[in-house]
Symmetry: D2
Subunit: 351 residues, 4 copies
Amino acid sequence: MCILCGMSYRAAVVGASGYTGVELLRLLHGHPEIEVGTVTAESNAGANVRDLYPSLAAGYPETVYASTDPAALAGYDVVFLALPHGQSQQMAGELVDTVGHVVDLGADFRLPRPDYEHWYGEGHTAPELIGRFAFGMPELYREQIAASQHVASPGCYPTASSLALAPLLAHGFVEPTGIVVDAVSGVSGAGRGLKTTSLFAEVDENVTAYGLLTHRHTAEMEQALSHVSGEAVQVLFTPHLVPMVRGILATCYARPQVAGLTTEALLDAYREFYRGEPFVIVTDDPPATKAAAGSNSVHLSVRFDERTGTVLALGAIDNLVKGASGQAIQNANLVLGITETTGLPTIGLMP
Amino acid sequence: MCILCGMSYRAAVVGASGYTGVELLRLLHGHPEIEVGTVTAESNAGANVRDLYPSLAAGYPETVYASTDPAALAGYDVVFLALPHGQSQQMAGELVDTVGHVVDLGADFRLPRPDYEHWYGEGHTAPELIGRFAFGMPELYREQIAASQHVASPGCYPTASSLALAPLLAHGFVEPTGIVVDAVSGVSGAGRGLKTTSLFAEVDENVTAYGLLTHRHTAEMEQALSHVSGEAVQVLFTPHLVPMVRGILATCYARPQVAGLTTEALLDAYREFYRGEPFVIVTDDPPATKAAAGSNSVHLSVRFDERTGTVLALGAIDNLVKGASGQAIQNANLVLGITETTGLPTIGLMP
Amino acid sequence: MCILCGMSYRAAVVGASGYTGVELLRLLHGHPEIEVGTVTAESNAGANVRDLYPSLAAGYPETVYASTDPAALAGYDVVFLALPHGQSQQMAGELVDTVGHVVDLGADFRLPRPDYEHWYGEGHTAPELIGRFAFGMPELYREQIAASQHVASPGCYPTASSLALAPLLAHGFVEPTGIVVDAVSGVSGAGRGLKTTSLFAEVDENVTAYGLLTHRHTAEMEQALSHVSGEAVQVLFTPHLVPMVRGILATCYARPQVAGLTTEALLDAYREFYRGEPFVIVTDDPPATKAAAGSNSVHLSVRFDERTGTVLALGAIDNLVKGASGQAIQNANLVLGITETTGLPTIGLMP
Amino acid sequence: MCILCGMSYRAAVVGASGYTGVELLRLLHGHPEIEVGTVTAESNAGANVRDLYPSLAAGYPETVYASTDPAALAGYDVVFLALPHGQSQQMAGELVDTVGHVVDLGADFRLPRPDYEHWYGEGHTAPELIGRFAFGMPELYREQIAASQHVASPGCYPTASSLALAPLLAHGFVEPTGIVVDAVSGVSGAGRGLKTTSLFAEVDENVTAYGLLTHRHTAEMEQALSHVSGEAVQVLFTPHLVPMVRGILATCYARPQVAGLTTEALLDAYREFYRGEPFVIVTDDPPATKAAAGSNSVHLSVRFDERTGTVLALGAIDNLVKGASGQAIQNANLVLGITETTGLPTIGLMP
């Protein structure tokens, strides 16, 4: 509630028993101008929020998960969809004209239909709605978002790597092909679903690559970087699972297409490119995921290796905040027309 | 700053390059009515906060650690001391009459002189000041704190275990002797100092007990529990180090001294005892440290084992928040006369 | 194979796709006198061992999981059963007279029928076989094991805590009631089954108690300690889950029933009690689980607290080795009549 | 001791209180033909091995760290040097002609003098000895090692990445320049020294890159790969610290210089290249560091990405075993003329 005018926006969270849904509840509880109303879940409908997530007990002492009924959401100022991919497109049609704004955290409305169908290997069931969603990476698409009614918030890996590489492509410093994104992620990115590969005894003291050559987030990286570049950008993306809960570090490699690059000049260019961005921190030192933990900040750095002729760009975020729920709220702030930073922590939980 | 009246209190943080100091900076950045001024460190004086702690870069982009000069702190509304034990007593004399309030996070002013000297094995250099500090555990000493100018914020283990056991002793449900507190802590409790036992390669995949029979926090537990009991309480305390950063879980055992106890009745008694406490959550299920991570909440539960005739009480906190910096801010709110919960998160970072 | 005589015993491992089964395969690969033949699994029958567990690829490059058919195991010198509780009793009848020795790692034959049925809350389907299994804790039951054909290897918590407390009860140093066992375990103890509580994102940075008052391992502790004591021993047992994969630390509390105890005298008594035991290490310092990681060793220490009149005993093991598969091989060595230590590492993986 | 002939070789371990030294003690305790005699340390001289490392108590119950005196090592069959870089070159002169074999785990004798001085930024004090040490990566230099008296065992990152890339360069499948090695390591690689960046509270839940552009291990990678290629190979190497104790995963990128590559053909070429290698496992799935934990195995896989025209090679090892102490023993076996696999586990500690 706005402490001056007493007004607040009302939000619903659909899919609020998964990790990104729960993170929305955590962050929205501290948001002074958005009030959480309906909170839905599928298999957990009927359960108390506090029983599934004791961490939320103080903020949601009486809240019960409702089952998801789009009709019951009509009139909400903003509806957050935190669903497995493929489910938003089945529901969005009933929401886009009955609620103020939809902010989708899934993949369903991030890509043009052909790209979606290519990378996800399945038909899109609501292609006519894709155009009504802006791609919700505010630092690169702020005007489009503010001008749009609905937003498709991007994936975690694309956020970290696109923000790490954007200045290079915007300035034409590097070739648009031959780019490598080698990234590591905490396990929360896999959600609360039961998989052997998410078990503590399998993840702890272990690192492995996965999704080799074909990870779907590649398409979003190429889309965002082509947007800033003006040319078709091609990325080889290798994700890895590491034994931590939150955090993504993207280490990116690109080949210079101009002469005379230096690390110093690149750092200056990054600081200039992101001047005034409240969530972007450019550092001389290599960024650490923990610096961003629990916050909506992204930490970036860059290097030029004269010896091998390579540009190295690094980006660190909390995958559940800037990589999901925090960025979703940043997008909601934009479409609601309130201060973009409202309710979003910028300081990491360290240690 | 108060959004209505434009006023805010000014705070200094002494010892702000250690973990509890950094946690004060994190929390105070989100505090609407306290503004951080001077931030000091000893060996790190002259360094930028953002270089030592990139996590703080967005909140303290230009702040530089000053060296600690008590004279320079005169006039502050509140001064937080986050120092190794023994150092506050050397400095407090210069502060107690020149600043509004001192909130000490160290052990120096928590205990009467004989107890301090017995458990810490050294003389107290400012015993005349001890009486000017209230013992800062608001749920058990709220009136004393509000009536005091200065506060000695309690230790992490005493907070978790005293709040877990207090209702039992307040009601005389258990004997004041024969109490066992078996607790585990994350490694952040040991601070940022360089010790072999704090190395990742030594802590990870490892659990060990330490400080057997003689841990200094025993004295604070006995003090707080004797305070609620009215009788001299005796506790055997065994701390353990476990491979996590934050969190304390205290598992406590006591012998009933009344007949007819049941788990259900005890849970009711706990809910009644802590009714209205904004940071206390009584749960049917065993509490988990992660439910409290990053928040000022304490999660409690209790059981009666009819088979062996034992009462079991459990308490979980974040050692750096409710066990240190969060509780210190709670105490500052109390002595400043502002709403006790201001600026303090109650929702844990989960997952 | 015995390098001198060329002979070796042949073993089958039933349930070899769970964690204790896989640990049997790891250890037996290094055992010079036992050769692994049939390796079975239920849902994983038909899979290659190396695909499910790449860690085993070098030792079992061609091995395929068979489905479990007791008839096909006839003639094996030793059959290890590494099954969820309740399944061994359904199969053991077909094995006890057709194979050399059965070593069961489950709970089915550890307890007398009434105790089993009380603590497990279900009927026993092969009670007539219980008497044919010795309780496989060699340090306390060596003669019984060597004299028996079959062995029921004990649980992880009972092993750590019974060995930690045994000297106290054997000497009558402590009262047989009022004993508290407060223990922590790594998550591998929960197996590879899919449970929310075993997910990395739930376990990491988290500690919680579980099975309050009613954990089934209590019965084995009371059985083993009554065996050494000669009196009925009663234990209150509280297990906790901590963020590590392997390891159990049991911290045990008991009340003295003799005068004049000292820590020094207790340490001496422990060293004397376990003199010559190849897997028991009594230390002055508190034992650490990591010292035992991957090994069949148990590390013990003990204290007497004069202030509160309490004896404190601590024991650390690797739950998958001394707490399961290593101890099972130790038992197999005993019943096969080969050197008890054969094939069993005693040095922990540190760091 | 050889069980047949009763003979064994005698070894000394110099620098046996660091992590690689302790790992040598662990592995040599299980080595049937090498017996450990003198065990030295610098600041820890005089301490009991079992007090510094309780994990070794069962294997080294009475061993005391001697101070390091090269003269006292004369006559040993093999002397392992597990020292910080720069120290071996000061001592080796006194050993090379008085002991059977020196196996150095440090960097001092791995590189030609100019490369050493360039990458390490300091003069070499015993350049005349460099030629007496073979580069100890048996899979690529077996003949040179067997023909040499002394061995310089390679670094952890070079082992994982060179073995992952070697078949590509041996066959000329990829260009010798433009190669990127992006690797992660557990923290044990940083040793037991006290550094803020090795603290649990800093490492846990954190990933960061370090040594950008200039990590010294680059030189060893280029040396080993140039050796198999016959051409000068150039590598850009980016190491990362991840929250685990043991393990290295190297993810390597190279540009094809021949047409018609496929993933299937590359996997076949890898299997052929490493046929008969007892420690190399080529897998279809991406390798996991945990599969190698505690063992001397290296797990490899490879991919060709037709879309971007990139070859991706992955290698996983335990940095303390195949990346240090295990490979050192493998080298010792080679120069002593005993079976190369003696005493070296190949199965990983999983879970």
